[in-house]
């Protein structure tokens, strides 16, 4: 076949096919992001109609009362904990349920139910389950033979960990699926060969199959990190940011200050979230693009 002459692409794949997508991206995604950089430096609020520039005042306020640092720290700790738990659980489930027995198939389906449920609903379920007089304490009390009244959602240090566990509980089914798919891509004969060479099952697993799971790990860690940094529903439904704002991730702060009519402060935090994710995401985008080119 004759190679297409230069410029033929204009006729066969016209650029106007890009127009609807990029028009929407521009209006509903890029423009608000640009606005973010503008309105974070104003005194926009619901209390007055005019909007005036105030320079770095919003940042200075949020820095001086420790809010900015606190929310950033909580968000990062939460994201790292979620990524850790979600991947540990997902990977453990994938290894446990790897063989295609009917029991394992059924169990996989059950672990996918929370993935389909609304995160808000999951949050309310655990709020009820983890009350000081809730079912988890009842169960623990039954096992230990005493009355247990641990305030799972009322501790300024450990509640963040508990909420991260709930987030991981909701999404671990998805991680499990992706790890299962990753395990399936490792050919049988590779592990078989290692066995014949005298490797134990344990050795064969960690030295042969685990390294081949790298793409699944990348995908799962990246999505868990980004998903939890953008999190809102589960934290809102379990603790609402409390106790004493110890679980107030950036989106909870944005929601709260927006509700109070402090639009400029909410915008400033939104910009902080954007910058934090952008900084952390650059390496992630690079990895995704490289994977995409391999396809």
């Amino acid at each position: 076949m004759r190679p297409a002459p230069a410029g033929a692409g204009r006729r066969t794949h016209p650029m106007w096919f890009l127009a609807p997508a990029f028009a929407i991206l521009f209006v509903f995604f890029f423009l608000p992001t640009v606005f973010n950089f503008v309105y974070a430096f104003t005194d926009w609020s619901s209390f007055k109609s005019d909007i005036r520039p105030v320079g770095w005042d919003n940042f200075a306020d949020l820095l001086s009362d420790g809010t900015l640092y606190g929310a950033l720290r909580v968000t990062l700790v939460y994201a790292v904990l979620v990524a850790l738990f979600q991947n540990l659980f997902g990977f453990g489930l994938a290894v446990l349920l790897e063989r295609d027995t009917w029991l394992n198939r059924a169990a996989r389906l059950v672990f996918l139910v929370p993935v389909l449920m609304s995160a808000l609903a999951v949050g309310y379920v655990f709020q009820a389950l983890l009350k000081p007089d809730g079912s988890l304490n009842d169960l623990l009390g039954g096992v230990l033979g005493t009355t247990v009244t641990i305030p799972w959602l009322g501790d300024t240090t450990w509640t963040l960990v508990v909420v991260a566990l709930i987030h991981a509980w909701k999404w671990m089914g998805l991680s499990m699926l992706i790890y299962l798919a990753g395990l399936k891509t490792v050919p049988e004969d590779v592990t078989e060969a290692a066995r014949i060479d005298g490797a134990t099952g344990w050795q064969a697993f960690w030295s042969i199959r685990f390294p081949l799971l790298a793409p699944a790990v990348t995908f799962n860690v990246a999505t868990a990190l980004l998903g939890s940094m953008n999190g809102f529903d589960i934290v809102q439904a379990t603790t609402g940011g409390g106790p004493a704002r110890s679980t107030e991730i950036l989106n909870i702060f944005i929601y709260r200050t927006f509700g109070q009519g402090l639009f400029a402060q909410a915008t400033t935090m939104s910009l902080v979230l954007f910058l934090m994710v952008a900084l952390l995401a650059l390496p992630v985008i690079r990895v995704l693009r490289r994977r995409e080119e391999v396809l």
Partner: protein
């Protein structure tokens, strides 16, 4: 034979894990949703003295405005998914087929939304200026803007695996780009579009955060309704109604999943690990 023991211990371990980790929370939802208000005041795992599941579901259906919220959800989710898939595939096709430097930049911009968070607060301001504040159209635009990146990322990769010769055959027959795209390319994208549909339905159907900012108080969707109702104190200490609402709200997705589970599972995993 240690391996024999491990293999024999595995099924009971699986059952125990499922019961403890999944069974307890899901059981709590069902039994609490079937209790009277007095019994559900402090939710526990005991069986209700009298099963009131239907009564509670019916009550939530009427008092919780479920039909209206359901309609609101459908009104937003269906057009969002349709538009994001159509516009996203159109752009992906050209981005994948014309490897110019400009297109490389455009592609990078288009997929940046996978990681970058949307500017929720200023979206509200922008929609107000456009006269779309609180409207379904504004909400649909926001969802399409947020999830276009995901579609472009998945579909562009897939288009590159579709052989060029198929398009060229159609072109020889005199088909223009619109015909080639909608009659030849789009049908071939079915597997990847199925994956994208599932993921985006999952996110949009369950979204409460963006909905709160864009249409909160003006248009009801199911999650938004649950959020407002549970927050408003109307349902305070009405766990039986909250859990009945959760059951009603989760049912549509669970039914879809039960019907198409095999395709959904292969769809999700096929997109992620290649």
């Amino acid at each position: 034979m240690t391996r024999g023991i491990a293999a024999r211990l595995r099924p009971p371990a699986v059952v125990a894990l499922v019961v403890l980790v999944m069974g307890v929370p899901l059981w709590l939802v069902v039994v609490t949703a079937a209790k009277s208000q007095g019994e559900a005041l402090s939710p526990d795992l005991s069986l209700p003295s009298r099963w009131l599941l239907w009564e509670n579901l019916a009550r939530v259906w009427e008092q919780g405005d479920v039909p209206r919220a359901f309609l609101g959800s459908v009104l937003v989710v269906a057009p969002s998914v349709l538009l994001v898939l159509t516009f996203g595939s159109m752009a992906s096709w050209v981005l994948a087929r014309r490897a110019t430097r400009l297109n490389a930049v455009l592609y990078a911009c288009a997929i940046s939304g996978i990681v970058l968070p949307p500017a929720v607060v200023t979206i509200v301001l922008l929609l107000r200026q456009l006269g779309l504040a609180g409207s379904a159209v504004g909400m649909i635009g926001v969802y399409v803007g947020i999830y276009l990146s995901t579609v472009v990322f998945f579909v562009t990769g897939f288009v590159r695996t579709v052989p060029l010769s198929i398009e060229e055959a159609a072109r020889m027959d005199g088909a223009g780009p619109v015909r080639v795209f909608f009659a030849v390319i789009l049908p071939m994208l079915r597997p990847v579009l199925a994956t994208a549909t599932i993921l985006i339905c999952l996110y949009v159907w369950n979204d409460v955060f963006y909905a709160f900012f864009v249409v909160g108080g003006r248009l009801d969707t199911l999650p938004l309704n649950l959020f407002q109702v549970a927050n408003a104190g109307l349902y305070l200490n009405n766990w039986h109604l909250i859990f009945a609402y959760i059951i009603l709200m989760s049912l549509p997705l669970l039914v879809v999943f039960a019907v198409a589970q095999r395709r959904i599972i292969s769809g999700i995993t096929g997109g992620a690990v290649k």
